[in-house]
Every structure is written in C-alpha cells, then in structure tokens.
Symmetry: D2
Subunit: 265 residues, 4 copies
C-alpha cells in the first residue's frame, strides 16, 4: 500500500498549495490513500471548518488528521464529531467530540489512521503512549496497516513514540513544528519514521505566519495577533510504501517550494 | 569563504564520529574554517571539559559553540572563560564566564562566530534579538562574515532570528533539537538559514540518549538517569559558501548515517 | 508613611469591591498613598481601559500597577503611555509604552512605585533582578521610599526578589496568583514582604473567573472562553508603615470576604 | 473527626520542627489523625528515605503524603511500594510503586487519604480530576471521611480540584509552593479548602533552600546546586474538624515561625 501524507495545511495559501499540487502528486506517486494534517487550515491558521474540510476532500484528500488547534473554530465541535473522515488526537480526555482513529477501506485492505498529541512542552493531555497501546489493541485484530500522526513539539517525544510503536505500526510521522526534518528512516520491525513532515502553506513566512507578526511578538513581548502570510506556497509531505503485512518498505520525503519547484524534482 | 559547521556533538560516540569523518570532510569540502557545537560532548551528554575541547581542536575543529548545557560540567566554568576558541551563548546575564562571540582570522579575512540561546520553551535568558543587535554593532565594523549558531527549541524563534538578521549576517543555523531539518535556504540579503543542523552522535538512540532511558521517562514519569547511547555514529553538518562581502551564496546539508554512509554521497 | 496596596482588581465585581470598601479602608487606615494592581479590571478580566483607570482614580486609588495582562486591551497601548499614574512592568523590552516606575509626591516626601514581572513559568521578559538594580540606581538619589509590586507566578522568584532588594526598598509585595498568602514579614534591613497580596474580585469563583469555565478547561482540555464571575465581592490588600528613612516598620494583611466582612474586623 | 495536616517537610530543619512542635500541637489540638507531606524531607530537599519516614512516624505522624519529588531518592522506590502509611500521588501512570490513597482506621471510623499531582506548569501526569473521581468511586462505599492533598503549582488548578470535589470529600488542601495561603474556607457541601498549607522547614530561606543558592540561580542562570538552609525552623499546617457524615465544620491554619512562636498563639 502506498500512503501519501501531507503536513499541517496553513490557511488559504496552504489549501491552495494542496489544491494545486495534489493532482500532480497523485499522478506521479499514485498513492492508495491520501491523508493530510488540517489543524491550521482556517483563515487565521487555527483549526478547521466543515466547509474547509469539504474543500480538502474535494481536492482528493481522503482523510484529515488534526492537532492542538483541533477545536479552535467554534463550529468544529459538532462537525468533527460526525465526520468519520476526520481524526482528532486520540488522547483528549474521554468525551471530546470526534474520534482518535479511523478505519478506512483501501482496495481489499484496511488502514487505521491514528492521531496523537505530545505533552512535552505542549499541554495536559492524556498519556499518548498508553493511548496508542489501547488503540492498537482495538485495531490490531482488524488490520496491520496502521498510520500514526504524532503531533508534538519535541523531537524526543516523537522519536520515543516511534520506538514505542516500532514493529507494531506501519509508520509514525510527526507534525506540529511546520518544518520538515531530514531524518526519514525505517526502524527495526518495519516502521517508517520521520520526526516532522513540515507544512503546506506560505513560503515567505515564519511557520506560515507573517514574519512581521512573529518578529513583533519576539521583539516586544506585546500581545500580537498572528496572521497567516500570503504569497507563493510550499508543500511538504511523505510517501510511504508498505508490504502486505503492513510493514514499511520505503519512506520518501516530498518538499515543494519556490526554490525547489515540482517540475525540478 | 567556506564554512563547515557540525551540530551538537553528543558523548563519546559523537566525538568519535567527528574524529573519524572530519579528515574526509575536510578533504572533500576544503573548508576555510570548521566550527562545531559541543554542548553535549561530555560522557553523560551534558556540557564539556577542557580535555574534550582539546580533543576536538586536535580533530581539526577550529571553534566550538555551546548551548543550554554550556556550564553543566563543574570544571568548565574556568576553562570556558579563558579559551578564545570556545563561544558560549551571548545572552547569558553579564558576568557569565566566557564570551558570546569570537573573531577568528581566516586567511586574509576575519569571521565573527556568535552563539545565542532561544527562550521560547527553554529558559530565562537575556533577549537574544537585542543581544544579536548589540554584537553586530560591535563586530560589524570589523568584518562582514558573521556566523550565528542559534541554539533554540522552537522552529519559530529560530526562523525569527534568521529574519531578524537577514541581510546583516552570513548565516543563521539552528541547533538543540538534535534532528536535522530539510529547509536550508538563502534569505533575501544573502543570509543562509537552516532551522536545525542536527547532531553528531549515536544513531541507534533518541536524540543521542539510550532509547530505553527516554522511553522509561515518557512511560513512567519517574526520575530517570539518561545515558548517552552506544553503537554506530551519525554526523550532521552544513557547508556554507560566502562571497567577499560576507553574503551566503550556497548552503548544503551534510548527513552521514549508517543508512547513508559517507562514501555513498 | 502609610501605604495601602490592593491586589489584582478583577472585572466589574473587583471594581465594585474597591469602590465600596475604599472609603471605609481610608477612614480606618488613613493611608498616605493608595495603590492597586489593575491588570485584570477589564470586563473580561484581561487588561485595562482608560475609562476604567479613571473610575479607579475616582475611587481614591492614587496609582495603578499592572502585570502580564497590561496591554491586552487594544486601546491601552496609548493611554498607558501617557498617564503618569499607571506603572507597567519595568522589564518589558525597551520601547514598550508607559513607564516601569513612577515617582509620586506624598506630603513632604516622595515614593517610587515599581512594577516588575517574574519570568519563571511566566514569559520571556527582561531580567527583573537587573532591572530592579537599574531603577534603584535612578531613584535612589531621589527617595528612600520605594514600593515594589513583583507580579510573578512562583513563590521562589517573588521571595528571591524580596531578598535581592532587602534593605534597599521599603516593600516587595507579590501579585498574580490572586490568592493571598499568610507569610507577611519584615526582612532584615527593613523591607516588608508578602508573597502574594491576593485579589479584589468575585468571591464565588476560581481566581475571579467562573468556576464552570475553569473546570471545563481542566476537565476537557477544550478551548474555553473564561469569564469573570459575578456575585459578592472580596478584597485583599496590605498596609505598610515606613519610617522617615523609608524602612518598613509594620506590614498588615487585609482580607475582606463574605465570610469575613469588613465590620467584623 | 479532627485532622491535623502539616505541609511539605523540608530537610533536617523541617524534620526537627515537626519533632519539636508535634507534641505541643497534639496536646493543644488533640487530633484524631496526623498527616504530613514529606516529599522534601531528604537532606537535599528532594524525596524521602525509609529511615526518615520511620523518624516521622516516631514523631507521631500517622500518614505521609508526597508530591513531584516522591521518587527522587533511589531507595524510595521499594519502600514506598511496601509501606501502607505512605501515599504517593495517585495520578502517576499505572505501575508506579506505592499507592495513591490509603484507608486508615480512626477510632470507630475510617479516613481515606488521597494524594494528587497538578499538571499545570508542573509535569505530564495522568488527569488528576478523573483520577479523583475513580478513587471516590472506590472508597466512597467505605467511608465519607476523605482528605485530599492536591500537590500543585497554580492556584487555579488547586481551586478547580476543590470545586470538582466539593460536597464529595471532607477537605482539599494544596501543597507544593511552600508558602501558606490565607484563604481557608468551607465550600458548599462541607468541603474544607486551603490553596496551600505552606511548609515545615528553615525560616531564613527561600522555600526552604538557601537564599544564596536561589538568588545565584535567578541572577546568573548558571547551573546551581540548591541546598536546604539551616537555622531556626517554621511549621505550617491546618486543623480540620469533620462531622459524623464526613463534612468539614471548621478549618484553622497553623503558622509557627520565629516571629510568631508557638507560645504566642
Ligand atoms: Fe500544532
Ligand atoms: Fe500546526
Ligand atoms: Fe541544547
Ligand atoms: Fe544539544
Ligand atoms: Fe497576572
Ligand atoms: Fe492578575
Ligand atoms: Fe513539590
Ligand atoms: Fe515541596
């Protein structure tokens, strides 16, 4: 099975980048399933709306994962609870709207897509390590193709999750920092790992936001309203191939920027 | 001028990796100056000793930068204060031993090497943005070749520093997360930028430490003594070329791992 | 000199408590100067407006100190920069609107009122310890009556500031946690100290906010809009007497709640 | 039932204060049960040893609660797991040595003593709110006398826990900040609450540690070995009376310092 995963989609420029390049990516990579992290797709970079989710599904994204901004848009509480194509972090306290993983048919196979939040330097969520174990106990009987989006700040917690799950899932890829790392590898047991996939969003920006806003905050420590930057987009993703036993056999990073345009690949 | 910079050297395996590959790197890249971040070279991964600094100088590292672990080894307080080849973060409070930047002769030129600590999710240091401005006012009259190691946790603070200094320094490269990012670019004004260079240390590890230790901590939340992992090494660095006006003309990542050995490059 | 200081005024109930009890407090204690921390007086508990500042001045508060919420209301940037009766934390980066201390005439004497922000578990401000030293060097030639509002999270940083300034200022009192501590004392050298003065605001609340909102946040980790609670008020303050050399000779806590009404004192 | 609870015992001076004043406290208050938080009783202020626990039991402390430093002493892992008189935070991940609550016979009654850790600005523990609910479901059938030591940093999380449990437990008292707060009250439903009990330890100190050490850390940001201060002690505690239905009818703070000696009460 070939999985195409795109990192945090940031604002309108991020959505546009996905809409523009997805057809080409599909043509080139012919993925069996496409997944994207959509926690920043709202116009202000915080959360998602139902309309934007629909637009991403229209752009050939099959499933969406989320992160710490999952519920930042008011209306998202209800729609996230009712759409099986949206996966929110599994380690919110019980009772949160939505689901922490979803099972999706891919040809004759199934894949389980899991979303987890890190806690180190992030927030007070449930233990993602035990939550991962609990989910594996549930889905392990149904499929051996398991994809994990570990949305976390620190490199150590993301790597720890990858080793925690090594040999038990197909892939653990990190999101949240909005910068792609260069450490893709396949861990013993056949689990693909990349510390951070990076984002889809405006290129001339700081993690998708205007440079002016972020610099104002760091320089003045005054309250600052961050805004999604405009201009040319970039897109970051990863392509993972698994064998019939759900183990990863390859992992390849995708990085499209104005400096590295799609056609130059 | 060609600058070779290596990321955080972790423990004995990190030192060995530098000793083993530096001759080959020098042969291939012919750098005019070699710099390495040595904040983790002590056997326990925290700080540095005079003896280890000497070993790195013997291994053809010209200058050392540091980070949040600068003073973790007792004896380092005095030696760091007296060796002009060691640069510690400039934004410690005044009175800290050592120097926040150093000027070094490179052929007919000079280069200023600056070390800064981020604060976001890190610690209570002086403002790195104003400290950078202060240093530039001092060294700007002496050279236009200025290399900045921004040792920080978050991608946003590292990018903010790069944009803060864009057009005013030759390069801003990040360290601290121990994972190389894939976002090298040259910002307008001729400033090379990479969010994180990554580390030199054991490959089969979590950020250089044993997987068992890091996993024990995340799973149990009990006090855990982290230990540097053993086994095969990896090395991460970056090569930056500047023109005679000190502006970057190219930036290239180096990543040597057991999966990507030196000779396969 | 007798100084009356009131802790963080929270929302409308806090303002009402000050308006209701200030005349009685003045009658009973006959303070030479009245100061209050007003960082939470806005209707949503975040920041201040010019109109609210005027209302507090009308209620016989002579000077206002602030905290981490200083600039949360849009229009406060300009008014805080122009009213000498408002003191914002001195250790914002240079260029922030307003002033970090003010000198105020009290009979034949003068008093300097200083506001500082802690950094531990709070934010990335300038070093409050060196900033305090800098201010003392400026005002020390003009008066020996110096009152410091140290707005900080941790007990250790507030006590550290008190000891840092012991014998050099009249008083260091803490604010920010909204709960009064019971550790008032006079440190060697004649510096009055209280870790936290506590707040003026609604009694049936969690730190001034509705219990429902705060509990929702802790239980669900979902985005939550905190709102100032309503109902009966409480008021917390401190009365400090200094001698002609500006050293404290007494410190007394004030705590008025529905369970400990003013008249029962 | 009358419960006497003492806050964090810090080092040798803290143990001495308890040994010196406990007989007098027992004589004056005649408590039915005595409990103390012992997370800092080790000579370096971090954790506990079996020998020190025995010394506290010899000093008429019936039960010990702990906190974030529970397991800082190596040998404590085994003894804490085997002594029913020691209660460690219940919201460590499952598998941690020891117990999160204990049931203790008091005359014809029983009392359940619960220890919880806050997470806000503290650490990545399990959800203390759900853990409290879980424990109440277990012990609620056995007794209605339930005492909770909520060891946490922020005033808001401690108050939130008190309101979460109001009407369901006899008392929620906070520990950890080492400074007693002045906000004792009885919440609707008969639950006694005090944000922080304060510590038992050296008076001339910053939260029990030498002023010099803590000031060195804040002023220099250099690695600093904190040491328990010496000299005269202080003791802080709380006395709570419950009725036969386990509801609190009174709460009284105890604060003994060199400035407020026992005999002056
Ligand atoms: Fe995120
Ligand atoms: Fe994101
Ligand atoms: Fe570091
Ligand atoms: Fe490092
Ligand atoms: Fe505050
Ligand atoms: Fe406040
Ligand atoms: Fe503690
Ligand atoms: Fe403690």
């Amino acid at each position: 099975m070939r999985i195409l995963f795109l990192g945090d989609i940031v604002g309108h420029p991020g959505k546009q980048a996905v809409e523009a390049w997805m057809p080409k990516l599909i043509k080139r990579y012919r993925p069996d399933i496409t997944i994207a992290n959509a926690e920043n797709v709202a116009p202000n970079g915080r959360g998602i709306t139902e309309r934007l989710a629909e637009a991403l599904f229209d752009a050939e994204v099959d499933l969406l994962t989320m992160g710490n901004h999952t519920f930042d848009q008011r209306d998202s509480l209800s729609f996230i609870g009712s759409d099986r194509r949206v996966v929110r972090p599994a380690n919110f306290p019980p009772g949160a709207p939505g689901q922490g993983y979803t099972l999706c048919k891919v040809g004759q196979e199934q894949i389980a897509v899991v979303n987890l939040l890190g806690r180190a330097l992030m927030g007070d969520y449930d233990d993602p390590f035990r939550e991962a174990d609990r989910i594996l106990a549930e889905v392990g009987t149904q499929t051996s193709h398991i994809f994990v989006d570990m949305h976390a700040e620190t490199t150590s917690e993301k790597a720890a999750m990858a080793y925690h799950l090594a040999g038990r899932v197909s892939a653990v890829v990190g999101t949240h920092t909005h910068v792609q790392t260069a450490d893709e590898r396949i861990l013993p047991g056949g689990t693909a790992f990349l510390t951070d996939v990076g984002m889809c969003g405006p290129y001339d920006s700081i993690i998708g936001m205007t440079k002016e806003g972020v610099l104002h905050k760091f320089r003045t420590q005054l309250p600052t309203r961050f805004e999604v930057a405009q201009g040319e987009g970039q897109l970051h993703g990863v392509v993972i191939d698994t064998n019939e036993r759900g183990r990863a056999v390859s992992i390849e990073r995708i990085s499209i920027t104005p400096d590295r345009p799609f056609d130059s690949w």
